[in-house]
Symmetry: C2
Subunit: 775 residues, 2 copies
């Protein structure tokens, strides 16, 4: 088995392949057995001089290199990294391994967060976190230096040319430069200037490895922009027309401040679009002439109820389309990655598939934590033809199979099956009781009664003492009931089954809730990333807001504006009692970053946002309105996308459910594999021969277990939860075949181009050329 | 040709078919030539006694009956009327024809509108429309008597049993009864009591023939309700939990009126769901502890941004599903109708299809206004095999073809082709100029400049004199340019082409706008019917609101409530000037039906709706809140459906466009048919023989035209705009075939059941049994 030789070899350090294989072999060093695998390239001794052992050793090293590169390809496929940034030589590989590492990722994230959190301490700072200029500028410089280090490592991995062609990284570099200069200026002048560029700090977070989802969201937002802008223009067009009309109609009414000038007319119709000043904006003209309401009703019907919904429709439509195209490109990218990896794993002796030995080698690099038993099961799961080799067709399922978690299938039904007869009967009784409908409904009733009880108790309790000293008896009763239920269920079902069936029990009531909750759980990661995307926009706007509006709003600040009441703070004495009249809106300010975030959230909710806008405007200039209007439009985009996203996910799931109505209830993806004793022995032998004796322990445990239960074979279940990708696979089943064919036609063309670039019939790897090694 | 005998006969007056055909024939009266066709049934003289002419006459009458019933079937298919209400005998037919008549429909509509409009005059009436109780009660009684007449006619048509099993009509009858009693009570007591039942008057409008779209909308709303309610419960569940939590957290803060009791807490969180009291509801607790904003942010994120969107998703999903099922059932219903009609049109001699004579007879009843030429073209369009007969398979396209408008295809390209050479060259020049890109862009520029000009002019004009005495020169310039453009285009393109290409020219700029506008035009009828549905809900709520809240809100009415400012009206003197401080909200009242409508629109827009609610509540009881909350939920349902509807229509259209990307631009459905001179002569001969000489005039005109241009044949184009049904046909192309097969399997089964109900192998019509006539 050790005599296998890879069909193609990897990581040609010289980068040249004009030399013939033999020439190249002559140039190689002697095998270096102790060196790390990635500083070795083709450590093959010359066929004429090498003895059998060194040949074997060098073959093993070749294999190690191939395993590692195949693992890298598969990772690139999984993460949707372009193959363009695939490490091209040993130096790049070292940098690649350094950069693709959770420690490095964490460092990236920490620096980015540090930079973002600095805004808490920089003026205008949150009072208790205020730091001296000297301190926070130094911290900033330190963080920036770390970013420089990270970028230089990345450049080392990608190479200079790929690096400068990589847009995101270039933008990051420019921002870094600006930030550097500014930080130094601050340090020198010992005072902060108007640093709006701090708003760009988000890019450090966006560029983090862990924020891939945020990047995808941003990309999707930008892709949805063109149709969005089209409809927005339509919206603004009607707004301008109505503003002119409104100005002519209502500006003669001197008690109507909303349409006194064209600018007011425009601003108020913009606010009306958000309904935020309705019906106030209508009232002065309505009190003069009741029919003036027609103007507002028509405006709102067209703008709010028609065009705004159209906006959602357009975004939703674009969104679904993009989702599908994204899925397609990701699928094909993964497929290409698998092809690349496969070519590196096939041996010269057996070109029709991958043997377990090769697969095991790959997995050592791809998922080092996976134990030997699981690796073997994964291999078996891939291997649908049940031969010794995994063909390319089988290997295409790699990403679907590798995520499965394997467990031995239990033969016993209950955890107490092995107990003595009496105990068994007792537990069996509890089990039946716990599973009965009567018990379930009894518990539902208790929960309902408890809920109503709490409601009534709270209703009776008007002010008074909330937390009486002695615990009320009702609490004790209900807690006892819940305790007993918990005890019964854990004993009757066993702790593991109890925990895993908790959700099912709870939501057996309503199928629709289950669908909703499933969708919710499926959505949760994406929702979180969308939330983070929104926060990034918030951050930028908060910085800009703080630079321009910090400190402009305070109690009784806006007495000249139309919204003076909201900012009032009067402290007057009536009789002998002090009465405080508060408008509270002075709290919605940009005085520090936390306050800014709350203010921006209020602007996002939209209601009464014009009060905040008018307050700030009355204290600054009327150009401030631009800030608020732009913020409104930006949040509108993000919010529309969030809505479209929820819609898309839910509708997709419902369509899926409808399509698979006949099939049984699904609990994720489940696969069953049987392993016989002889097979196990073979695998153990293989590991022993490969000097990986430490890994055989779990395998031997399996054999021991088989012996104990006197079985000749053992069943294993592989499980994982169903992802959106699985659903898409099933939904687009027919189209996928077309995509594959189209793709393979293109690939074939490229392959031909690649393999015989100059009519040279020497096989070589896909994206760059490698020399072939003959031993 | 006249010797054709229908395969089956219609309208068996006796209703019995136990007698053998000959027995039945013996019982029949002699043919009655002058009677209307529908009081004749089987006017077939006994074969033994009848001479040839009376036989021929009776055959013709049989055919007339069949034509009429086939036309009724086709109308039922088109209007989605159940075949259960198909007229069963001559008396029912008379009633049917009386009821299915635009005059009758108009009467229905007028009475319904009269009843609805009475609310303008009944107390609390719109001041200038106030009528005495005596007058409006008499009017109401009159309208109700008309409704009774209408219902009795319907009962005559449907028969008693079908009538009482028809739910909608039964509800209408009950409402009618209640209204009658109430109207009499009012007339007797000479004073109006609390007449909430007036809210039910809408049912008279909903039941109108012309309001079929509204009925469909209502049905769709009710069908969407179950999933909607599920999610609503989830929403309310979270609301209650947060209300309890909010009460415990914030009620200790005595400056916070929003959470002082559990009821307040619930109401304010309900209002917060609509964002209407945000951020005010947060401010008191926020000013005490900044971190309390977390409570509100979490609440809004879950309720507003997640569950509310889920609500939309669920409704949208249900909506799309219902749309598809509706399309399916409508399609199959039409198909069945066509089958019924076909069976009545096939003659005994030629059972494999419908000849033109029969088709022409059908069309005389189905679309009496259609001229002979169009009837023949429709027949030709149906007849795909180009034989003399239209088979059932061809006849299935009936509804698609019958809507086509036919026009002779013009051979000349421009309207001026026939003019003398010089004139032709001039017009040709204008034509080329007008069609040139330069001209188009020049005109766009003029429009843009004009727009900016108006904008600037309005901007400069701050108050001042709006309408100066002398027209400004800019107006004259622009109007002249537009005039010249109009002149050039009408002369260059011809008036017809100019008008029809206007839209195209205008929106050539942006393909997306075209899609949007197309969708808009397609949506318009449905949007109008949805608007009407909303108005019907408004009407009911307005009546209830007027009964309970009319007159409760007036200036300075609500000084004890938290919204007192909004209802303030203070008239005080500062120096020597009178200053009026107005809150204006007292204008949002239920004092008459017009005011109520405006108030309800304001509640629909949602912003600041709690001010109206609190104002009314402070003057009545806190149960009034129920009215406002229920109204909010109802409008939320309707609005969500409107959004879902716009979404569905737009996404559907975009999918369609995407699917048909390759195909040429579509201008609706177009069909081309050629008619030769000989064919025309044959058709004219046919009409002449049938004594319908008056109808041959348009045909002879065609022949004359052919002679003039020395053509042996003439091309006709049939055109109609594309409907949603056409799009659906294409979208569900594959599924439709499945539906048909499934349907025909069921049909076949029913047919067998129907034709041989007791093993009697006598063929009979589909839904009820008819006797076969043998001559």
């Amino acid at each position: 088995m050790d005599d296998d030789v890879p069909l193609i070899l990897t990581l040609d350090e010289s980068g040249s392949n004009t030399s013939t294989p033999n020439e190249q072999l002559d140039r190689e060093d002697l095998p270096n057995e102790n060196g790390g695998s990635y500083d070795l390239v083709n450590d093959v001794s010359s066929p004429a001089t090498g003895d059998y052992h060194s040949q074997q050793r060098s073959a093993r090293h070749n294999w190690e290199m191939n395993y590692q590169e195949a693992a890298i390809y598969l990772q690139e496929g999984e993460n949707n990294d372009k193959f363009l940034t695939h490490p091209k030589n040993a130096k790049a590989l070292a940098a690649y391994l350094f950069v693709h590492n959770h420690l490095f990722y964490l460092m990236e994230l920490t620096t980015a967060l540090l930079l973002l959190l600095l805004s808490l301490c920089e003026a205008p700072a949150v009072p208790i976190l205020r730091l001296g200029i000297y301190i926070h500028a130094t911290l900033e410089l330190f963080a920036l230096v770390v970013v420089v280090f990270e970028l230089s490592m990345k450049m080392r991995w990608m190479g200079f040319y790929t690096y400068i062609r990589h847009k995101r990284t270039m933008v990051k570099t420019c921002v870094l430069l600006v930030q550097f200069v500014e930080a130094i200026v601050v340090l020198v002048r010992q005072t902060s200037h108007v640093r709006i560029t701090r708003a760009l700090r988000c890019i450090f977070l966006v560029d983090c490895r862990y924020c891939g989802a945020v990047r995808r969201n941003l990309r999707q937002i930008f892709q949805s922009l063109p149709p969005f802008i089209d409809i927005l223009l339509l919206l603004l067009f009607f707004m301008v027309i109505f503003a002119i009309l409104g100005f002519y109609l209502f500006s003669s009414n001197h008690s109507d401040p909303y349409f006194s000038t064209l600018e007011n007319s425009l601003v108020n119709l913009f606010v009306l679009l958000t309904t935020s000043n309705f019906p106030d904006v209508m009232m002065p003209s309505y009190s003069q002439n009741p029919w003036s309401c027609v103007f507002f009703i028509v405006y709102l019907s067209i703008e709010l109820y028609f065009i705004m919904n159209l906006l959602l429709a357009v975004v939703f439509d674009t969104f679904s389309d993009i989702e599908k195209r994204k899925f397609k490109s990701l699928l094909l990218h993964k497929r290409t990655a698998i092809q690349h990896a496969y070519r590196l794993l096939v041996s010269k002796q057996r070109p029709s598939g991958i043997s377990f030995k090769q697969f095991e080698g790959l997995m050592r690099f791809y998922t080092p934590r996976m134990c030997a038993r699981e690796r073997y099961l994964t291999f078996k799961a891939l291997n649908q033809s049940n031969t010794a080799l995994v063909s390319l067709q089988d290997f295409y399922n790699f990403y679907e199979v590798v995520g499965l978690k394997w467990k031995a299938k239990r033969n016993r039904e209950h955890w107490f099956d092995d107990l003595p007869r009496t105990a068994f009967l007792i537990f069996k009784g509890i089990n039946i009781l716990v599973k009965s409908r009567a018990f379930q409904y009894a518990m539902y009733t208790v929960v309902a009664v408890n809920g109503i009880w709490i409601l009534i108790q709270t209703f009776m309790l008007q002010g008074g003492n909330f937390f009486p000293r002695d615990v009320p008896w009702s609490y004790i009763v209900f807690l006892t009931i819940y305790g007993v239920e918990l005890l019964l269920k854990t004993t009757g079902l066993g702790p593991i089954e109890y925990l895993s069936s908790g959700w099912n029990l709870l939501f057996k009531l309503k199928k629709r809730y289950r669908n909703v909750l499933d969708t919710m759980f499926e959505l949760f990661p994406r929702m979180a990333s969308l939330g983070l995307t929104l926060l990034i926009f918030y951050y930028s706007f908060a910085i800009v807001g703080m630079e321009f509006f910090s400190g402009v709003v305070y109690p009784n600040c806006c007495n000249t504006s139309t919204v003076a009441d909201a900012y009032r703070w009067v402290n007057h004495t009536v009789g002998n009692k002090t009465v405080v009249e508060e408008g509270y809106y002075y709290l919605n300010n940009f005085d520090n970053i936390l306050n800014s975030f709350v203010t921006l959230f209020e602007l996002t909710v939209v209601n009464d946002w014009y009060i905040i806008m008018e307050g700030v405007t009355s204290q600054t200039s009327h150009w401030s309105r631009l800030y608020f209007m732009i913020f409104y439009i930006v949040t509108m985009v993000v919010m529309t996308i969030i809505v479209a996203f929820i819609l898309e996910a839910f509708v997709f799931r419902m369509n899926y459910t409808r399509k698979n109505q006949g099939s049984e209830e699904d609990n994720g993806i489940v696969l069953e594999k049987e392993i016989s004793k002889e097979e196990m022995a073979g695998v153990i032998e293989l590991f022993r021969r490969n000097c990986a004796a430490s890994e055989t322990a779990p395998l031997q445990k399996v054999v021991a277990q088989m012996d104990k239960y006197e079985q000749t074979s053992m069943l294993f279940l592989g499980r994982r939860s169903r992802t959106k990708s699985d659903l898409s696979m099933k939904m687009y089943e027919e189209e996928i075949q077309e995509w594959y064919e189209e793709h393979s036609r293109k690939e074939e063309y490229q392959w031909q181009e690649d393999v015989f670039p100059s009519g040279n019939p020497m096989p070589s790897s896909g994206l760059r050329q490698r020399s072939q090694t003959v031993i």
